[in-house]
């Protein structure tokens, strides 16, 4: 991210502030990925963002506050990709919507391992109250799965706990891959993840048929 030119540049204070805030968030995400939560200090974040320590404290009261803001920003970035991919489909086209949404999710994470790390690994493990945010984030993706989902092959409505288990299971799988340093290869998991997501609603035979046709 480019630093603003020094000295008078005629940009509004609000613009400068927003630019700094975004750079600090990006700085934290990068630092977290490189050295982990413990070693990510305000100094390090500031260095990476080219923002002074005193300017850091204009935006955030502490490292944790920056961390929480970065976490939210990361989740929203992922959400935007998924929602955009799903938006091209009618509500009735559940399977194609799921395929595109899940493909977008995996592509987004694979292309940005630092983003994947903060959202799926650090959000879970750093403690400090970020866990509640992780939980809320995962839960917030459940409606994308649930909306317009077909009934199970036996005609019964798929239980709410199944929707949650599908989303939670996928988050867990992807998190484990990121933890193992395999974030860039997450795209390879697409057929597996799709089969896992579609099976409770369509049955395994139909799920596989759709995936191989798609």
């Amino acid at each position: 991210m480019e630093r603003l030119p020094r000295g008078r540049h005629g940009l509004s204070p609000e613009f400068v502030a927003q630019n700094q805030r975004e750079r600090l968030i990006a700085g934290l995400i990068g630092a977290l990925y490189d050295v982990g939560y413990q070693k990510t200090t305000v100094s390090l974040i500031g260095q990476r963002a080219s923002v002074s320590k005193s300017d850091f404290y204009k935006h955030f009261q502490s490292k944790d506050e920056c961390f929480f803001a970065a976490y939210e920003a990361a989740v929203e970035q992922i959400r935007e990709q998924v929602v955009t991919a799903c938006a091209g489909h009618e509500e009735s086209e559940w399977s194609p919507r799921m395929q595109d949404g899940i493909a977008a999710l995996l592509a987004c994470l694979a292309s940005d391992p630092a983003l994947a790390s903060i959202s799926l690994v650090e959000g879970l493990r750093a403690g400090r109250g970020v866990y509640d945010r992780y939980q809320a984030a995962v839960e917030s993706f459940v409606p994308y799965l649930r909306q317009g989902a077909p009934r199970a092959p036996d005609g019964e409505k798929v239980p709410a706990s199944t929707d949650e288990a599908v989303v939670g299971g996928i988050a867990s799988l992807l998190g484990r891959r990121v933890l193992a340093g395999e974030a860039e290869r997450i795209g390879e998991l697409l057929p597996d993840v799709l089969e896992f997501a579609l099976t409770p609603y369509l049955g395994v035979t139909e799920a596989r048929r759709i995936i191989s046709a798609g």
Binding site: A126, R128, A165, V167, G169, A171, G203, V204
Partner: protein, 180 residues
């Protein structure tokens, strides 16, 4: 170890102090430090003990079940849910607190999850063509559900989850239709 588990369940690992533990356990500080280097070691011992307990019960149940794989998975699941219902503090230590308590605790959690993944793999049908990641994702999904229920204090009703969780675990292996 019980005091550690109870306090973690009540207030979380970070907020739990040695002073709280010795008071709850009614032991002297010296006794705690004779047995454990400190808070983390005590936590890890509590975690390890609970995992051995739970895993042992699940394995026993799988072995004791009838020959069919669906019965084995059902027996194992029920044993696990029963463990949670009977030991809510220990369940919380294992499925909630361990993940974020310390880096070593996270690693132990991952290792424990891996054991359950392998156990499921051994007891499920050896059908070819299933995704390699299936057991991993299924265990992750069940852990997520249980994690949420434990955080909400709903451990007593853990066994009520059996039909839904069993269906979730069995349907990829069976294709269409409900499980018993």
């Amino acid at each position: 170890m019980d005091a550690m588990a109870e306090l973690c369940a009540e207030q979380g690992y970070e907020a739990t102090k040695i002073a709280d533990i010795v008071r709850r356990a009614r032991v002297a500080r010296k006794t705690l430090y004779d047995n454990f280097d400190g808070k983390e070691e005590l936590f890890l011992a509590s975690f390890d003990s609970a995992v051995e307990d739970a895993f042992g019960r699940v394995e026993e149940a799988c072995k004791g079940a009838e020959a069919g794989w669906a019965d084995r998975v059902a027996a194992g699941l029920r044993a696990f849910l029963a463990y949670i219902a009977e030991n809510p503090a220990a369940a919380r230590v294992c499925l909630v607190e361990a993940i974020s308590a310390t880096p070593t605790a996270s690693a132990r959690y991952d290792a424990a999850v891996q054991r359950f993944i392998e156990l499921l793999g051994r007891n499920a049908p050896p059908e070819t063509g299933l995704p390699d990641t299936l057991e991993e994702t299924l265990v992750g999904g069940v852990a997520w559900i249980l994690h949420q229920r434990i955080r909400r204090g709903e451990t007593e009703q853990a066994l009520d989850l059996t039909p839904e969780l069993l269906d979730f675990l069995l349907s990829p292996y069976q294709g269409v239709g409900k499980s018993k």
